[in-house]
């Protein structure tokens, strides 16, 4: 008894035990409220939907339905395509901003620029999305502007209630998420490396391509993932500005859960979407792994 309690006392003094003890409330919460529920929807995706109850029969029928039904498959492919285009557009537009703030803004003003960039992100997401509807709409800002300038004769209709408007709105919503990781990576670059590049006769552009860009890649990769993964599951944007052609996988999941009450099929769609996202992300990381090794 004596022995056991002293061993416990010794264990409590080790760093590992202290760390585990310290993190346990947060870790326990994440296990109970995140890991266990995620496990549960994976489980549900293999069960059968009965009327008003879930039948505990193991089946692959939900996955077969989710992957073969023409409607579900097209929504899934569209979500993937939209998320990829949004990611590409967002990261390409974000890189010059991160580069500007890191290399051209005076150190004392950097915080101010980052603050200005992040403010719009913290204002009501729903209202921001709705305002894109106002900007892109039939009588919207873009159309009245272009009509006023005499550039078009009648309002453009291809910019609202389709995939285009979903891409524009999401690219706007995720902009700060793309800028910050790239900025952090650029800030870490030792400026003397760039001088060395130019001293050794490289042009500015070649120095950028051969020194700056490879060193910034970890940031670019992080921003690609941080935009791509949540984008594919966005509900509000496709719902408000997407129209019938712009529906994405989150709208489908919501429909299955809240309207059709088919939890197993909804779970199978959700799990499939997460599976695809994970796979695409892992392939992307794999293709870029040489940039992630870190300094020797």
């Amino acid at each position: 008894m004596m022995n056991a309690s002293s061993r416990w006392a010794k264990l409590r003094q080790t760093e590992a035990a202290n760390g585990l003890l310290m993190i346990s409330p947060t870790a326990l919460y994440a296990i109970l409220m995140l890991a266990a529920p995620l496990g549960t929807i994976v489980l549900y995706s293999f069960l059968t939907d009965g009327y008003l109850e879930i039948i505990r029969d193991f089946t692959l029928a939900n996955y077969i339905e989710a992957w073969t039904n023409e409607l579900y498959r097209s929504v899934m492919i569209r979500s993937l395509a939209v998320a990829m285009v949004v990611t590409l557009v967002t990261v390409l537009l974000a890189f010059p901003i991160a580069y500007f703030v890191s290399f051209y803004v005076a150190p004392s003003k950097k915080s101010l620029w980052l603050f200005l960039i992040t403010i719009p992100f913290w204002t009501s997401y729903l209202i921001r999305v709705f305002l894109w509807k106002v900007i892109l709409g039939y009588n919207g800002v873009v159309n009245s502007g272009l009509l006023g300038l005499g550039l078009i004769d009648e309002p453009l209709t291809f910019i609202l209630y389709n995939v285009n408007s979903v891409v524009i709105t999401l690219a706007h919503a995720y902009a700060p998420f793309a800028i910050l990781p790239i900025f952090v990576a650029l800030e870490k670059i030792d400026r003397s490396l760039l001088e060395a590049g130019q001293d050794l006769g490289e042009s500015k552009f070649m120095t950028f391509r051969r020194v700056t860009l490879p060193l910034a890649m970890p940031g670019v990769i992080a921003s690609v993932l941080i935009v791509f993964i949540p984008t594919i599951g966005d509900y509000v944007t496709p719902q408000l500005v997407g129209g019938p052609e712009g529906r994405m996988v989150a709208n489908l999941i919501q429909l299955q859960y809240l309207k059709l009450d088919n939890y197993p099929l909804g779970s199978a769609i959700a799990v499939s979407a997460m599976g695809i996202v994970t796979l695409v992300s892992l392939i992307f990381i794999g293709l870029n792994r040489r940039y992630l090794k870190g300094p020797k």
Binding site: Y29, I41, L116, I119, P120, T123, L131, I135, G233
Partner: protein
């Protein structure tokens, strides 16, 4: 042209793109017409007075404030434990546990929402404001850890050791030395969690049951074109409030870094 001139032009153009919706918002909030379209017809504050007469709105605001305050306090508490553990100690399964805790940062919110819904209904828990709080704590915690980790990281460990040497216990050292030094980080993390929770829609949409929260109310009003001008007025108020909150959060974040002698790397993330 000056150094980085073209970049500056691009950056300003980009800021216009980022701020476009926020600039347009007050235009329609103060516009006299019921239809949200150009051209504007005239100045009016009637949507703001109409806003004050909405009974569901005041209930939604009350619910959202309750959820946001509770979630902010709980998430920041959990964040303090995790940030302290990850910056101070090495322990087994650290990467895995931290990865799981930070996962909601990238996980689509709808996945968090449906998985919690399935479990709660399966356990027979009835949906209420508390079920929304469970979800909001989950998604706010990673943000609190991001903020608090930088506060804990810039902490000089010799201060802590000095307190031990002078005979303070672990608990009193935490209370007397560490807590005051990371306090600005804690305030900043409370404000950020509050802002995230107040604005969160999907989880509340799935888990609130019949109780309205502010975003759920706003979303429901989009279906009625005649209700939209009031929402524009409400949005204007919300934007002003969040800018004030964020400015305070930023002030405390910078003060915290200055206090513990660290270098400002900028940004919340």
């Amino acid at each position: 042209m000056m150094k980085g001139g073209w970049f500056k032009v691009y950056a300003i153009g980009y800021l216009v793109f980022l701020y476009a919706p926020i600039i347009i918002l007050p235009m329609f909030a103060f516009n006299d017409a019921t239809v949200i379209a150009f051209p504007l017809t005239g100045f009016s504050t009637r949507w703001f007075s109409a806003m004050l007469e909405q009974p569901t709105l005041s209930l939604a605001v009350k619910n959202s404030l309750f959820i946001a305050v509770t979630s902010a306090v709980l998430a920041t508490t959990l964040g303090v434990f995790a940030a302290r553990a990850s910056t101070r100690y090495r322990f087994p399964m650290k990467a895995g546990l931290m990865g799981l805790i930070m996962l909601p940062l990238v996980l689509p919110e709808i996945i968090v929402a449906v998985s919690l819904l399935v479990v709660l209904l399966g356990l027979g828990v009835s949906l209420s404001l508390w079920t929304v709080i469970l979800g909001h704590v989950l998604i706010c915690t990673p943000f609190t850890i991001a903020i608090l980790s930088s506060a804990f990281q810039s902490l000089d460990q010799s201060l802590e050791e000095a307190a031990y040497d002078l005979g303070e216990s672990a608990a009193s050292t935490f209370r007397l030395i560490i807590l005051p030094l990371v306090m600005p980080g804690i305030i900043s993390s409370l404000l950020i969690s509050f802002t995230i929770s107040l604005d969160e829609f999907i989880i509340a949409f799935f888990l609130a049951g019949t109780e309205p929260t502010l975003p759920v109310f706003i979303f429901s009003q989009f279906r009625f074109p005649s209700a939209v001008p009031v929402i524009m007025a409400l949005g204007t108020v919300l934007v002003c409030l969040s800018i004030i909150l964020l400015t305070i959060a930023e002030y405390f974040r910078r003060r915290g870094i200055a206090k513990s002698g660290g270098k400002d790397t900028g940004g919340f993330l």
